[in-house]
Amino acid sequence: MRLVAPTPALFLLALGATAQTAPVPAPTLPPGYVGSEGCQACHQELYDAFQKTPHNAPAADKKYGFTGLACESCHGPAQKHVDSPSADTIRNPAKLAAPAADKVCLTCHLNQHTQVGRLESSHMKDQVSCTSCHKVHANGGHDLVVRKASAINAQCTSCHLNVWAQFQRPSHHKLPEGAMSCVDCHNPHGSIRPAMLQSFAGTEPGCFTCHGDKRGPFTFEHAAVKFEGCGSCHEPHGSANPRMLIRQEVRFVCLECHANFPNPPATNSALGVVPPAFHDLNSPRFQNCTVCHQKVHGSYVDRNLLR
């Protein structure tokens, strides 16, 4: 929602009306500030909506030093704007460059748990500001960011067009169906994990939030799962291959690593290259490795992941 720039005459009329109905003693304000009531005179609708948002908190919380200055905590001192009402005389964080806009938000929000992964956030590094996703006024008394799964997905994919296209493939996580959202797997504020993935139980990939049976620890692990994650074999956004695999047939997923080349340590790309057995891959019986090596995510029982 845009701030409406009123004409001076309207402003004076409104100011007069306010002064007639509710004469209040002038609070002690820092130089250049007019207080939220000063903004209310012209921006009544915004003011009313704002009373219901969490962003009204700075007005009552002494911690941030903005007591009575809810609007100006983000928009800066408004005296100049009052004297000369124009969009050019007031700071609008939504129109600032990303670092400047973030600086406004982080005045209060830096020291919150949500920001702890900020330095690892590609959103921060790519100059995606807080106001790209958070609408400070728009949701009235509700949360400042969309919460419904389909709305979250629409918001994320308005930038991540390529990713949304992947979800139109037949094997995909159920985002187009509205059953999941991007933030189920990714933390848009940043995360210690690659690709800003969510975490599970402290240190583990967020995949295990839903796929707890793949977590282990297994007695006999499949190293690729632990070292490079599910994405070693699966394309989590979507694939034309069954089970979101990265290749059209399972055997190629396996053989690209388990390639049978001798003396692997010399290459420093070594893990898993030696085959566990000599199979005739011309026989369809052996073309799908996971029919026998069924515990491909890790086995509690068998070193060759057979059971």
């Binding site: 308005s158 509205g178 139980a201 790309s269 005739d280 369809p284 509690y300 070193r303």
Partner: protein, 668 residues
């Protein structure tokens, strides 16, 4: 949980009162790029209830082609449905709560049922609960050869028909206060049936199985949020249980997949009872902090530690004509008992700082580490019986998996003007790993690898006006070590985006991404190139008053080429993968002539996916929807959708079906 949903849905229905009209908004079947993000049940006034509830009935016309593939991908069925509900109840007197929000979608035996409840009271508590019931079905053929079934081999030897239940409850106390205690409980469980394989040395047998697992996560902590710093301390733990039964009823003979005899004998299975009993637990500690040390310095840090462990008891009884190849020992009964344990201490941490030496310069330095040192052991006893007696074998195995990952990065951000931002950086990634099972057996040995990668980073953001935004970044890396043949090695990642508001009614967006990864080492020679280009537009003349159109198109290509040696003859082979895909989605919405202040809307669109290459595939999902308001708080909607899937190489997997849904929307 379902009864809770019924109560939550019916309560506001019973209590509805006539109020000012709220136009019923059409709901696209699927979110489309460039769509304006809809708010969640916006409260437009001081009404105690706002939002909507959609109830309907869906008909499925039947599935042409493969029902199993349809169920694996779509799985929508006929019947009455709670299509969706999204509403907010506010208490003007702020007694038990200020606001209660409910979102529920897809209830009525649909594959993706969800319920979310938010309840909050300012400065006292903030509670949210989330529940999902997901049908997890996959019956896609395991084998690539569709004629295999003619030889008696089952096509589906890794299939399952399960449901997963995910529940999450979070309670924050004193939200907005400087001290916020919180507790949380999450539960993930699944159960169902499927088909799997029992593997013997010379044959493998498709057999049914039942699965059940559940993980409970308990956590609690406190957040301290002050003006100059924040700290979060959290303790948590998990309880895990997993059981699986694999069986074949005695009296039947399973000939397995092998079409040949072994030394003249048919290897078969006449009975099987195998059960896995797995229990696990973990404790974890999390410590987070941020600090605004000075006006030019911010600090960030995390410390995470967890130690999951599992204990396993496995028992297997099998009968038939079976063989131990290594000793050429035929046997008719087998008992295999194993007990195992493993634990995986895992430590992660990061520390970083943002330094602002000048008004338009920011320097970010960060360090990250992730260390997991896992070990396990297994003791087994096996008894093989035949006409000549019993043979006993015992084994003790020890496993170890270690990874030490480290990453250090420095980034410099420079803003020459308020419209131009430049970014340059350098990242060094290093680590080592090993994977071993002792004693060594066969060709498998103790593996070890190292990781060493230098990455250069550059980026630019150009924002000359509110109408235009262009950004791009590139990473270029050179490695001297990677864990796997297909890991990132010498790579370049490109990403560019542009958004342009042509006029108030038309906006365009473009997205480009490319990854080029090469590993030139002898014995690897990996060549990988993937690119994606997307365009989208949103066209809404007169602010979408009469109609609007959203559309997007993406093209993506993947080329992957890596060699391997055939396992049997060690002859060079090539794994060549190509994918050339076109994806388009569209949504057209128009307002029809209005009456009595009510405006019907019609929308149509959907998505298509067509690919060629290693697995040529087509997938069409068109839909159309009509919404006709019949009263200020009531609208009738009707929707048609179609799913059509085709495979050029695997024709038997294709399916097509029509779905028709009609229902009523109650809204305020």
């Amino acid at each position: 949980m379902k009864s809770l949903l019924v109560i939550a849905v019916t309560l506001p229905l019973i209590a509805q009162q006539p109020v000012a009209p709220t136009p019923a908004a059409p709901t696209p079947a699927a979110p489309t790029p460039a769509a304006p993000a809809p708010a969640s049940a916006p409260a437009t006034s001081d009404e105690w209830f706002s939002g909507y509830i959609d109830l309907g009935y869906r008909w499925q016309t039947g599935v042409g082609g493969s029902l199993d593939t349809y169920r694996s991908f779509v799985d929508l069925g006929s019947g009455p449905k709670l299509v969706g509900a999204d509403f907010t109840i506010t208490d003007p007197k702020h007694r038990l709560f200020d606001e209660l929000g409910v979102r529920a979608f897809g209830w009525g035996d649909d594959p993706n049922e969800s319920l979310h409840i938010d309840v909050k009271k300012s400065k006292l508590y903030d509670f949210n609960a989330d529940y999902r019931d997901i049908a997890y079905f996959n019956y896609l053929p395991s084998y690539a050869d569709p004629l295999l079934s003619t030889t008696g081999v089952a096509l589906n030897e890794q299939s399952f028909d399960t449901r997963r239940h995910l529940a999450s409850f979070n309670l924050d106390l004193l939200p907005g206060n400087w001290l916020v205690p919180y507790v949380s409980y999450d539960r993930d469980s699944g159960s169902g049936t499927g088909e799997t394989t029992f593997v013997n040395d010379a044959n493998e047998f498709a057999v049914p199985n039942t699965m059940s697992d559940r993980t409970s996560l308990f956590r609690g902590g406190v957040r301290i949020e002050l003006k100059r710093f924040h700290a979060t301390l959290e303790e948590g733990g998990t309880k895990f249980r997993n059981s699986q039964d694999v069986y074949q009823t005695s009296g039947s003979t399973n000939l397995g997949n092998a079409t040949n005899t072994f030394l003249g004998q048919t290897i078969d299975l006449t009975g099987l009872a195998a059960s896995y009993g797995i229990n696990g637990s973990s404790n974890y500690t999390k410590g987070l902090f941020t600090a605004n040390a000075t006006s030019w310095l911010d600090l960030y840090g995390q410390f995470l530690f967890s130690q999951p462990s599992t204990n396993v008891y496995y028992n297997q009884l099998a009968t038939g004509n079976l063989v131990l190849e290594s000793q050429l020992l035929f046997y008719s009964s087998q008992q295999f008992v194993l007990s195992a344990a493993s634990q995986s201490p895992h430590t992660s941490g990061s520390f970083g700082a943002e330094i602002r030496p000048l008004r338009n310069v920011r320097i970010i330095q960060s360090w990250l580490t992730d260390r997991m040192h896992e070990n396990g052991n297994a003791n087994s006893n096996e008894t093989l019986g035949n006409l000549y007696g019993a043979t006993q074998m015992a084994a003790m195995l020890a496993s170890s998996l270690v990874t030490n990952y480290n990453q250090e990065e420095i980034d410099v951000f420079f803003d020459p003007t308020s419209k131009l931002m430049l970014h340059g950086g350098y990242r060094y990634v290093w680590g080592n790993a090993n994977d071993a099972v002792l004693p060594v057996a066969g060709l498998a040995s103790a593996d070890q690898g190292s990781l060493s990668r230098n990455v250069g980073i550059a980026g630019i953001t150009f924002h000359p006006s509110q109408k235009l935004l262009v950004s791009g970044n590139v990473e270029a890396a050179s490695s001297s070590g990677a864990y796997f043949r297909t890991s990132l090695y010498n790579y370049q990642k490109w990403r560019a985006q542009a958004r342009y508001q042509v006029n108030p009614s038309l906006s365009l967006a473009a997205d480009f991404a490319l990854l080029n990864n090469q590993n030139p080492l002898p014995g690897v020679k990996y060549d990988y190139l993937a690119s994606q280009e997307s365009l989208s537009l949103l066209w809404a003349p007169k602010g979408g008053k009469n109609w609007n159109f959203q559309g997007s198109y993406s093209r993506s290509t993947v080329y992957s080429d890596i060699s391997y040696l055939d396992p049997e003859f060690l002859t060079p082979e090539q794994s060549l993968y190509r994918d050339n895909a076109h994806t388009a989605s569209a949504l057209f919405t128009a307002n029809l002539p209005h009456y009595d202040g009510l405006t019907p809307t019609i929308s149509a669109g959907g998505s298509l996916f067509i690919s060629s290459g290693s697995r040529p595939t087509s997938y069409y999902q068109p839909f159309a929807k009509l919404v006709v308001p019949v009263h200020r708080n009531l609208a009738w909607f009707s929707e048609w959708s179609y799913y059509g899937y085709g495979e050029a190489f695997y024709l038997y997997e294709g399916f097509r079906t029509h779905l028709v849904m009609t229902g009523l929307r109650f809204s305020r």
